[in-house]
Amino acid sequence: LSPGAPVSPAEPISQAYSLALYMQKNTSTLLQTYLQCQGSPFSDPGFSAPELQLSSLPPAAVSFKTWHALDDEERLSRAQGAFLALAQHLQLVGDDQSDLNPGSPILLAQLGAARLRAQGLLGNMAAIMTALGLPVPPEEDTLGLVPFGASAFERKCRGYVVTREYGHWTDRAVRDLALLKAKYPG
């Protein structure tokens, strides 16, 4: 094998898949903890505001046809981009909440853990792309100019969108990686 030749992608795919499954178990807990700490209406039973979106965060929702038609590079680069944005947004939400909710160490710990896992998944995906011989997209500042003057309500909403999308993207990543796993068996 020549140096730089792609190694077997099965192992990094398997690792990434395991991590995504593990993340998937905690996403709903993170969202519920987050909402409980924000007060009404966020903490009201059955709260949902799908219309709230963040322009800096790509939505996970995609039609099945489109998703299925993605090739490996597109699939992985979209997930890569999303988790890169999520990692940065989770940092922002953590900062917001340490200001708004300094008395909720559990929430802060969960936000920190989610951010670290998102970064871990990014590393795994980069390994997959390397193994597949795909170009690894450079890390970008997806947040750009953050409105630091955002009101407390906007920050609460922002955190809601981030924790919600983190769950959606994790679900999508599990499906992405399951597909890749089937495509590149060990």
Binding site: Q38, G39, P41, N101, A152, F153
Partner: protein, 976 residues
């Protein structure tokens, strides 16, 4: 005069110059119109800031002016605020004024104008308002973004109880906006087609992360804001400062509730001392350390300022630092020379300076209570002798000190525990005795009560019992009983003994307790009386006795049902005549016996009185077992002798006799009607004497059922109404019947006995034996002399159809006439048949068979089957023929069928089987007939004669049925 003229001239000149100055001002400043009005918006505080100047003032000129300010909303004609503002105006100096808008400024355009008027006393009237300035517009909406919906104010911080006005701006003309607070919709007032407002009154603190308010235009936009409600900053409470060493002042206070919010850090506390002018920001919310200055400052005036974004609170104290000394806790607390009753305690204090004196408080605690309290003045070291201590007791000594010059506060205490050493027991044990006979030998059981802690003065190790016989003073018997035993048993002989009991701990013995015991149990009979009950227990009283100079002892058992019971006793002085005995062990319904003893000077106890009683009487739990006796037609007797009145849960006062009564029935004399719980009616009789345990029921009806119940009663009630016992009185005539029947039975028995004894005689007289012709003595004479074949009866008168000749060998004793003949004997009979005449018809078929039987000759023969009615097949040996099972059947058959046969059967067809009454003397089997010619008949006997219809044939004969000697004339009749 000249001087005054000069003064007047100067005054006039000065006044002239002033007037000139005033006229200059007036001429130059009127009208003083506000100019350069500038309006700015402070969104954070929702304030409009106004700035303007007055240009027309002369240089360095100052003038008091009043300004009128108007604020309009949405349009200039909608004036919402007017205010006058007075100030001193300088030339070209900017004037500032601000106004807080209740409505968030972002929601509406505001217009402001100002006019002014000189309001200076130096300026004479009239004073005119200047012209209004131009309307200046303040519009924050221009800075809003491109969204469709905006909600204001954002992140507002208010105190609890405030009123807050919110507003939203919608750029959607067809909006349908609803706003919510904590999931509740809020009422909205529309101010403008695009602007609406709502007001939250008296807001309360919900959570630190703020109260969320949001508005949504469904499907279009949603906006929210957070209202941060702060708790109201409280004034610091209990603020004080003190020192331990004159180097540091420790100031502390109660800060109250924390007002920290995401929009507001925790309130700060600042300490300011006015004499020194020093100030420090406290790091903690509730205390601060202030360095004491080296310049011996004694007086301090502290102001503590609490502050947050919304409010400031302050509190001040003024004090002399020497009056605020709070010493440190003393140290090195030790005990020296600890004995049974004394101990010396020492301690040290932290000195302040060279001349300080401390007042120390020493407390001695035992079992958590303060026993002693002493104040000791101390410079450096304290010492105190604690006395009057109890031996073998654990104490705690506690010391705290205060600055003696000016008492401010006690220091934190220091405490230490110690225990005094043991001493010999101080009291003799309380001893009592119980003398009884064990195996005929008097035995005393000594009981003693354990010494209390204050009496024992240590751990009791053992008790020593010394028995002294007064008759032999030199002879002692010592006995050590290890603790915690509280009794011992000593066998005695008949004489008296003096017993000494001492309790010993590690230090020594207690004083001896002396008791004199006689070998005689001395259970003299003393009448028992009832004891009185009070709220406190049993009130035992007795008559004073001359022979009890040493006092009295009341003895009882807490649990009299336990045997042997553990005796309890109470010592009483010689003058006592009563006492109240109370024990937690006393139970209702238990009988307690009390014995009162008098104690002589020799410590000998004599039984004086006995008392008994219940702490609370209960109703009897059981009814007596009643025995009924002496039952007659009019009375019976009830007895319950085995019912013990002593062992009942109360004093039995008597008995109730209940008798069930029928409706409308009168009660017996002495009974009265009563109703019970089950609505039944009973007759009730009361027996007042508890010892009357028998009762005669009289005046009863013969042959009647009486149901009764006997139940005892105490002061607490009567026994259970259990099952009634039934008694039936006897018949009135039964007595007479007995008188008649008994002799009759007697005579019948006597007659029977006599008959039995004389049965042989009676038999001979009433039914002598019928002589058997065959056994006749005459026959024997004839046989022997003339003809051996001679028979008793001549058969010449009969015309037989057939003759059955039974060949009976001479000498055979077998007979067919006796019913009692055994089967074995019958089997030997082998009759021989001699057919003399043929039957009328040889054809086979049924034919009547008639048998004649001479019953008078021998009745028993009919039952024996000697006239067998069964048809017998030629092939079947006669020995296999079956018998008729009973004589009755046979007779019945004869009566019925015989007559029918005679009437129905034609004479020509009838075949009669005649069975000869002569018993053939032949013997042998019928089958042998052809081969064995008849032998000479040795003896002929009468046999039963029968004519049986063949149709009456019985079931086939069994092999054992060989009793018949019937000869059949027509054998073919047997085949069908």
């Amino acid at each position: 005069m000249a001087l005054s003229t000069i003064f007047l001239t100067v005054f006039l000149l000065a006044l002239l110059s002033l007037r000139t100055y005033q006229s200059e001002v007036l001429s130059e400043t009127l009208p003083l119109t506000p100019e350069s009005l500038n309006v700015s918006i402070n969104s954070a505080h929702q304030r409009l800031h106004l700035q303007w100047t007055i240009h027309n003032l002369a240089y360095h000129q100052e003038l008091k002016m009043v300004f009128q300010i108007q604020i309009s909303r949405f349009k200039t004609s909608n004036v919402i605020w007017k205010e006058s503002y007075s100030t001193t105006v300088k030339q070209n100096q900017g004037l500032h004024w601000s106004w807080e808008s209740k409505l968030p400024l972002e929601c509406a355009t505001h217009f402001v104008r100002v006019r002014g008027k000189v309001d200076d006393a130096r300026i004479p009237e009239p004073k005119f308002w200047s012209n209004w300035s131009r309307w200046e517009e303040a519009d924050a909406q221009n800075s809003l973004g491109p969204d469709l919906l905006f909600l204001f104010p954002e992140d507002k911080l208010v105190e609890e109880g405030s009123d807050v006005t919110f507003c939203y701006v919608s750029r959607n003309h067809q909006h349908n906006i609803s706003c919510y607070l904590e999931a509740a919709q809020i009422h909205i007032d529309q101010l403008d087609p695009r602007v609406s407002t709502f007001k939250l009154k008296n807001v309360s603190f919900i959570r630190r992360t703020g109260t969320n308010i949001f508005c949504e235009d469904p499907g279009v936009a949603m906006k929210g804001t957070v209202l941060f409600v702060s708790k109201i900053l409280e004034e610091p409470k209990d603020f004080f400062c003190e020192t331990q060493d004159f180097k540091n002042l420790n100031c502390a206070w109660d800060p109250g509730s924390d007002t920290t919010l995401p929009k507001q850090p925790s309130q700060s506390y600042t300490l300011f001392e006015s004499f020194s002018g020093k100030k420090m920001l406290c790091e903690h919310r509730n205390f601060c350390n202030w360095q004491v200055a080296q310049d011996s400052q004694e007086m301090y005036n502290f102001t503590l300022v609490a502050e947050n974004y919304l409010r400031k609170r302050r509190v001040s104290i003024l004090f002399n630092v020497t009056h605020r000394v709070h010493p440190m806790s003393p140290y090195n607390l030790f005990f020296e020379n600890i004995s049974a009753t004394n101990a010396t305690v020492t301690w040290k204090v932290h000195a302040i300076g060279n001349y300080s004196t401390f007042l120390c408080q020493l407390e001695l605690l035992g079992e958590g209570k303060v026993i002693q309290q002493q104040n000791v003045s101390v410079k450096v070291s304290g010492e105190y002798l604690l006395d009057d201590l109890e031996p073998d007791t654990r104490y705690t000594a506690r010391v705290r000190c205060a600055y003696a010059n000016h008492f401010w506060k006690w220091s934190e205490p220091i405490s230490q525990k110690f225990s005094t050493s043991e001493a010999a027991p101080s009291e003799a044990p309380d001893v009592w005795r119980n003398v009884r006979l064990v195996s005929g030998r008097p035995t005393v059981t000594l009981f003693w009560k354990p010494l209390s802690k204050s009496q024992a003065n240590g751990k009791i190790l053992f008790y020593k019992v010394i028995v002294e016989n007064p008759d032999k003073p030199s002879k002692f018997e010592g006995l050590s009983i290890p603790a915690p035993a509280n009794s011992t048993e000593l066998p005695l002989n008949g004489s008296s003994y003096q017993i000494h009991v001492t309790a010993h701990n590690s230090v020594g013995p207690s004083p001896a307790s002396v008791i004199t015991v006689s070998g005689d149990p001395g259970n003299r009979e003393v009448e028992e009386e009832r004891v009185n009950i009070t709220e406190d227990g049993f009130s035992v009283s007795w008559k004073p006795q001359a022979g009890a100079p040493a006092g009295y002892v009341v003895e009882w058992c807490d649990r009299p049902q336990d045997l042997p019971c553990d005796p309890q006793w109470k010592n009483l002085g010689p003058n006592a005549t009563s006492t109240v005995i109370d024990s937690g062990a006393f139970r209702p319904g238990v009988r307690y016996n009390f014995r009162i003893y008098g104690i002589s000077t020799e410590r000998m106890a004599h039984l004086l009185e006995r008392k008994t009683g219940y702490i609370e009487e209960l109703a009897p739990s059981d009814n007596p077992r009643v025995v009924t006796s002496h039952l007659t037609s009019h009375s019976f007797t009830l007895t319950w002798k085995d019912y013990s009145t002593e062992s009942q849960p109360g004093f039995i006062q008597g008995y109730y006799l209940y008798l069930k009564s029928k409706v409308g029935e009168q009660c017996l004399p002495g009974f009265e009607k009563t109703g019970l719980t089950d609505d039944s009616v009973y007759c009730k009789h009361r027996i007042d004497n508890p010892e009357q345990k028998t009762f005669v029921m009289e005046n009863l009806q013969p042959e009647s059922v009486y149901e009764f119940l006997i139940t005892p009663y105490t002061s607490a009630g009567e026994g259970p109404l259990g099952a009634f016992t039934k008694v039936t009185t006897s018949s009135e005539y039964s007595h007479a019947l007995v008188l008649i029947l008994l002799p009759m039975i007697f005579f019948i028995l006597l007659f029977t006995i006599v008959c039995y004894l004389k049965s042989q005689w009676l038999k001979e007289k009433c039914y002598p034996d019928i002589p058997d012709p065959c056994k006749s003595s005459v026959l024997s004479l004839i046989k022997s002399k003339e003809n051996p074949h001679l028979t008793i009866m001549n058969v010449n008168d009969c015309v037989p159809d057939a003759i059955e000749v039974i060949n009976k060998p001479e000498g055979s004793k077998i007979q067919f006439v006796g019913a009692s003949k055994s089967l074995t004997e019958a089997e030997f009979t082998k009759p021989t048949y001699l057919y003399l005449l043929p039957t009328v018809k040889n054809s086979p078929g049924p034919g009547p068979c008639i048998c004649f039987e001479n019953f008078t000759y021998n009745q028993a023969a009919s039952g024996s089957g000697s006239c067998d009615p069964f048809p017998i097949t030629p092939q079947v040996p006669p020995g296999q023929r079956g018998p008729l099972t009973s004589r009755g059947n046979l007779l019945k058959a004869l009566e019925k069928n015989y007559m029918n046969s005679l009437g129905e059967i034609p004479s020509g067809e009838a075949s009669l089987n005649y069975v000869s009454q002569l018993v053939s003397p032949m013997s042998g089997d019928k089958d042998n007939l052809p081969t064995n010619p008849p032998e000479p008949i040795l003896c002929s006997e009468y046999k039963m004669q029968m004519a049986l219809p063949l149709g009456l044939a019985s079931p086939p004969p069994s092999e054992n049925s060989r009793l018949s000697s019937t000869a059949l004339l027509d054998q073919g009749e047997h085949y069908r």
